[in-house]
Every structure is written in C-alpha cells, then in structure tokens.
Symmetry: C2
Subunit: 219 residues, 2 copies
C-alpha cells in the first residue's frame, strides 16, 4: 500500500468482483490503490484488471483528463510526445502531419477562448495542434492525423501526463478560427487540439468493450 | 545476450552512435539484440533508444508487419484487441465503432483477394474490419475509428503480434466490395481492415520524428 498516493488523491480500494467478467479474466492483481507498475503507469485501482487484459494497461490508462495542476510540461516531454505522434502509421507512409506545440501561457489562453470546449487549455502546460497537409494526402490526412493524435494521447498517459482530444475539423468555423490564430496555411487542415498538462484528476483505467459491437466472421 | 533470439531471427547488434541525437538522449541501453523488456515487448536492438524516448517504446515498436507464420491468433488475443479498440476516445463519447473479427481461413482468403494490398491476409490469423456507424457520428466516425484502429495496432505490438492497417474508406469501390463481402449495413462505413498474425518479420522500432514538421507556439 502506497500511503502517499492514498493520502494525496483520496483513493479507496474497490471490492473485488464488482465488475462482470463474461469470458476472459487474468491478473486480478494485488488489490492496493494508487500503485505504479513496471512501465511507470499509475493505476489507482488494480481490481479493474479483472475485466481488462493486463498486457494492455497502457492503453486502458489513457483517459480524457481535463484538470491540470498548472505546472509546465518539460521540453523532454514535449519532444517525446512529438516522437510518439510521428511514430504513427500513415497511408502510403506519406506522413502528412504537422504539429504546432503551444506552450506560451498567453497563447494557451487565446486558444482556450476560441475552442468551445477548451477552457482547460488555460491551465494546460501544452496545447498540441495536430494538422495535416491536404496536398500531401488529400484522402487520408484525417485518418493519419487521428492515428498520430491517439499516439500522443497514449504517450501522455505513459509519461504520467493528462491529455484530452479537442476536435476541430470538420467544424468549419472552429477550424478556421484556430487556423487563423495559429497561422496555419490554407492548404493545411487542423484536425484537433490536444490539451496536455500535469493531471489534477485521475480517472480510472477502462475499456468500453461492448459485445454488441463485435461481429464474428461477418456482420 | 539471448542466444535463442539471435539464432532464430538472425539479428545482429548495430553499432552505437550510428544515429544522430539532436537534443534529447536517454537510455542508451544494454546493447544486445533480441531482448525482451518488462512490458513483454520485443526489441531487436536496444541501441535505437539513443534517439527515442525509452518510456514510449511500446509506441515505437508498433510497425507495419506484413509477414506472418500462419499460426492462429488466440481468442484471448482477439478479445484483448477488441478491448483496446474500444478503449479509444470518441467525439462526445459516441463510440460509433463496430468490429468484424474474421478468423475463418476461407474468409480471410476472400478478403485477401478483394483488397489490392491485402495479399498477406491469407496467412494472417485475424482480420479486424473497423467500421463506423454514420448515424451515430456522421462528422467524426472516421476520426474515432482511426483512433480505435491505432489502439488495435499498438495493442498487437504489445501482445507480440504483428499487424498492418489496410485502408478502405474513402476508396469507394474498395469499401463497397469489402462491405458487401462482410455484410456491413448501408449506413455503416468501413474504414479499414487490420491484418493481424504472429510475425514472421521484425522491423526495428522507430519514430519518424522530423523537426521540419514541428512549429513552436505558431506555424
């Protein structure tokens, strides 16, 4: 039991077997709250593993985090997030992406005022605008930039940061205003903003697995 | 040195400092080839870490893998990949996705014949068709399903599987033929197929970080 975590975040252990495990169950775990595993991820409750595949905890730990402490994001972490984004696959490996990494507080406040769901940007340490060059990949830039965005979000969780995807494209007005503010060229789409900061809330890891969305061999 | 790996895959260590490290360097590592880290990922050459942030090795290990041994993908792994896909974020949390998990060899061969870049499907253990319900999320289903696809690809790497994204939408003819074969309803888009199998090739982990795609504070 890591007492510091429990004290700091007010975590309480959840009883085992509160969750249903239809046909797959491994790693019921140690049963303390606020633990760290070998990969550096924080898990506030190991019991959640009774219905998620423990090998993928890094993915389940990626949750939308909208509250930040206000502490800056280090340059090393900014670089790591960019490396993660650019490790994504892209159609025909065209890599149509561009990233605008905003860390200046005044600019973060401006973006917070533009995006209708972006208030948290004023306390974020970083806003990563994920953009795609339509000239490079007219048909697949949205998919490629979405994969890059998901990599950035997963990377943030791996680095102990919190992040949330704030959609822009294809909301025309929102995309236009953000592009104007950031100086993004005409032929480049602005897919989304990713707000990143040191988390001040800790949603539990989860999947949203739903058997009704699964079809075997054909629909 | 794990001799078995070296023997099996014919890996050779790469000299240190062959790669440039402009402004970030941690974890030069142990310098053997074919090693496993605590997360279960396989890294064929630790030296690559000299220019990638070691904390994100799970993301850099996701590479497009197109050669498989033909061994089936276990039901536990199919389930884990579905959990990963459904752990992705979605606009307004609408979760427009559906997944057709194809494991029957005859059906895999059919899909291999339809997709112009899908020959490897005939030796894959699984083809996951990632679909999105336009009625649930007309404007964001492509982005949401792309994030789910990237989660599946990263999860495959974490599970020791190899996978590759085979695009469908918005290639109209390809999407139509695949939908028809899989019985996907009219209002549902088929974003892509993900071929998954036990890998018979092992591309090195990488980022494709490119400083020319990075803008600070504004474009």
């Amino acid at each position: 039991m890591n007492t510091e975590w429990v004290t700091t975040y007010g975590l309480v252990p959840t009883p085992v077997f509160t969750c249903v495990c239809p046909w797959f169950s491994i790693g019921i775990g140690g049963g303390t709250s606020g633990v760290s595993d070998m990969s550096g991820l924080r898990h506030h409750n190991r019991w959640i593993y009774c219905y998620m595949d423990q090998r993928l905890s890094a993915l389940f730990s990626r949750r939308s985090v909208r509250k930040y402490t206000g502490k800056p994001v280090s340059e090393a972490d900014v670089k790591a997030l960019l490396e993660a984004g650019m490790a994504a696959p892209s159609a025909s490996n065209r890599k149509p992406w561009h990233f605008v990494a905003v860390t200046e507080p005044a600019r973060l406040a401006q973006l917070a005022a533009i995006h209708p769901h972006g208030k948290m940007l004023s306390s974020a340490g970083l806003c990563m605008a994920v953009c795609g060059d339509r000239d490079i990949s007219p048909d697949f830039w949205v998919q490629d930039c979405s994969a890059a965005t998901e990599n950035i979000l997963v990377a943030a969780a791996m680095l102990g940061l919190g992040a949330v995807w704030l959609g822009a494209h294809p909301r025309a007005e929102r995309e236009r205003d953000l592009k104007q503010r950031l100086g993004v060229p005409e032929n480049v789409g602005l897919l989304c903003l990713v707000a990143v900061g040191h988390p001040d809330e800790y949603p539990d890891a989860r999947t949203q697995y739903d058997e009704q969305r699964v079809h075997r061999n054909r629909w």
